[in-house]
Amino acid sequence: MLSLLAFIPAFPLLGFAILFVTAGLLPKRWITTIGVGSVGISAFLALIVMFAFLGAPQPYTKVVWTWIAVSSFTPHIGFYLDALSGLMMLVITFVSFLIHLYSAEFMSTDEGYNRYFAYMNLFVASMLVLVLADNLLFLYLGWEGVGLCSYLLIGFWYRDPANGLAARKAFIVTRVGDTAMAIGLFVLLTNLGTLDIQPLMQQAVVHWPVGSALPIAAAALLLGGALGKSAQLPLQTWLPDAMAGPTPVSALIHAATMVTAGVYLIARTHVLYDLAPPVQTAVAVIGALTLLLAGFSALNQTDLKRILAYSTISQIGYMFLALGVGAWSAAIFHFMTHAFFKALLFLSAGVVVQHLGEEHDIFRMGGLRQRLPLAFWSFLIGSISLAALPLIDAGFYSKDLILWEAWSDGALGPWLWAAGLFGALLTAIYIFRAVFVVFFGPVRLEPTGLTGWRIAIPLVVLSILALTGGFVEIPSYLGNVPAFSGLMRSALPGPRVAAAGSSLEIMLSVIAAVVAILGVCIAYIAFRRRPAFLEALVRSPSSLALQHFWETDWGFDWLYDRTLVRPFLWIARIDQGDVIDRFYSGLASLSRATYRQLSETETGRVRRYAAGITAGSIVLIAILVFA
C-alpha cells in the first residue's frame, strides 16, 4: 500500500502532460474529467497511503531512480513519508481537489480552460514533489515548479499587460529568495556532503556545534528562500499583486499551499534551526512583525481579494512565529486550519465577485446576505475561523496554541505574545469589516447568475472543515484530545513548554477569546452603526495619510522601486553600448561588410567568371608544379 506513494504526484503530472500535448483538441468534458480527476485520484491514493501509514507510523522512503550520480553526490528521485509530509500531502490533495471541482464551474466560460487545468495540474504535481521529496535538490525542483506555475497562473489572462507585470513581480521577488536558498543548499552540500534530508540532519548534529557560523549561515539562507516563497518581511510585496490571477488560483496557490512551502521547509529542516538559535529568534521576530504589518494593511484595503491576500501574509506570520518559538507542530496545525478557512474565504469571495460582474471594491457592494446566501454563510464561517472566535471554529484551537507557545518562549516571549494578540484583534476587525460592508447594509449592486453544485459542494465541505478541523487538537482544560500533536511527535520534536493546562494558560486563552470578540464588536460599531465621531476621526488629514501609508503596504513597494528597481534600470540603460556589446555588434557589422564585399564579386558577367576560373587554375597548377 505504501508503495503507492510514488503515484500520488504522478497522476497530476500525467494530467498536465495529456492536457499540454492535446492543447485545444479535447472536448470540454474530457478536459474537466482529466483535470479534476487526476487530482481526485491523488487525493484518494493519499487517503489510502495515510491509512496504511497510520497503522504503522514508521518513516517510509521510496526511491524511484537515481537522478544525478557524480562521485559521492547522488540525489535520487525519492519520496519520503512521515507524519509531517503525510499530513501536508493529505491537506494539499484534498483542498486541491475541492478547488479543482470549484474551478470546473468557475472557469467554465473562459477560453483558456484547457491551459488553466494543465497549469493547475502541474502545480499540484510540483507541490506534492516539494512536500514528499526525500532530498533537498528534489525539493528545490518542486520549489521551482510551484514558482513557475504561480507565474503562469497569475498572468493567466495574459492579454492584459498588468497581469503580466504582476506575474513578473511575483517571480522576481521569489527569485531573490530562491537564490538565497540555492546558496544555502551549496553551503550544506559542501560542508556535509549530502542533500538527503534525514542523513543531512544527522550529519549536522554530529559535525556542527550549536551556535557556530555554518549552521547560522545555512539556516539563514534557507530562511531567505522561505521568506520569498511565503511572502514574509521583506519579500512580501508580491502577494497582494498576485491577486490578478483567477480566484481559484488565489485560493489554491496563494492561500492554501504554495505560500506555506516556506513553513514546510523550515519545519523539515528544523534541526538546522535548533543548531542556530539566533536564526530561529529571527524567524519568530519576522513572523511577529509581518503579522502586524499585514494586519494594518488589510484594514485599509478596498479590494476584497487584497484584504484576503494581506490576511494570508498575516496568518503565515503566525506560522513563522510558531516555528520561531519551537512550536513546530503548532505551526503545522495552523497551516492545516488556515488552508481550510482561507480557501473557503477565497472561494466564497470568488462567488461574490463573479456574480457582481467582476466588481472587487467592497464599498460598491452591500446587502448580499439575502441575495447570495451560500456565499454569505461560507464567508461568515471562514471569517469566524480566521478571527478565531472561541470554541466553535478550527482557527481558535490553532491560534490559541501558537499564542501560548509564544508566551512561554523566554525573554522575548511576552512581546511576541503581545504582538500575536494585537494581530488577532486586527484580524477580527478587518475580516468583519469585510463581512459587514459586503453582506450587510443596502444592496448597491444586484448579483446575477446561478451557483451550481460544483461550486456549492466545495464551499459546504470546506465550511464543515473550517468549523470542525480544529477538534483534532483540543487542549487539556477543554477536553484533552492530543491527537494531532501525538501524530506529529513522530516527525517533529515537541514544543519547548508543553501545553499542560495550567491556570496561566487558561487565562491567556480567555484573554485571546475576549480580544477576538472585542474585534468583532469594534467592526460592528464602526461599519454598521457608523457613529459620527468615528467618521470624523477617520476623515481627518493625518488619519487619511496614515491610512494611505498602510494601504500601500507600509511603503515597501515605493521603497523597493526607488532603491532597487530604478537604479537597476538605470544601470541597464547606460550599459547598453559597453565593450562586450561593441565586440559582438562589431562582429555582426564585420560579417555584413564582408557580405557586401563578396556580393560585389557577383557581377553576372561571364568574362569575369572565366577570369576567376583561369586565375584559380593558375594557382592550382602552381601548387602542383612547385610544391
Binding site: A611, T614, A615, S617, I618, I621, A622, V625
Partner: protein, 172 residues
Amino acid sequence: MTIAFYIAAAVAVVATALVIINLNVVHALLCLVISFLAVAIVFYVLGAPFAAALEVIVYAGAIMVLFVFVLIMLNTGGAAIQQERHWLTPWIWVGPVGLAAILLGEFVYLLWRNPVAAASGALGEPRQVGALLFGPYLLAVELASMLLLAGLVGAYHLGRTDRQAADERGRM
C-alpha cells in the same frame, strides 16, 4: 619535314592571333579555318594522318560551317564592326594577356624542367586507330555517342522558335 612543322606552327599561331584581334567576326572565322588547316598539317607531320583528316573534315569542315550558318542568321553588318571597335578599348587586353602569360610561363617551366624527348614520328595508321576504338575504347565510343545524342536533342529543342513550339503542341 621538320621545316614543314615549324612553318605550319607559325601560320597557326599568327592565324589564331588574328582571330582574337579581328573586328569583323566573319574575318575572324576565316582566320580560324586557316588556323585549323595549319594544325592539320602539324598533325600529319607528327605522324597522325587520320587525325589530320578528321581535323579538316569535322573541325574546319563541319563546326566552322555551323558557325558560318549562325552568323548568316544573325545578320550582323557594319554596325557590328562599329560595336566591336567600341568594345575593344586599348587597355582591355592587359588583364587577359597577363593571366595567359602566367599560365604560359608555368607550362614553359614544366617543359624546361623535363628532359627533351624526341617524338618517334611513327605513322599511326587508321587501322590501328580503328582497332583501338573497337577494343579498349569501346565504352568511350558509346559514351561519346550518347553525348552526341544529347547535343542533338538539346540543339533541336533550343533551336525551335516559340511559334514552332506552339504549332507542334497544337498538332499533338
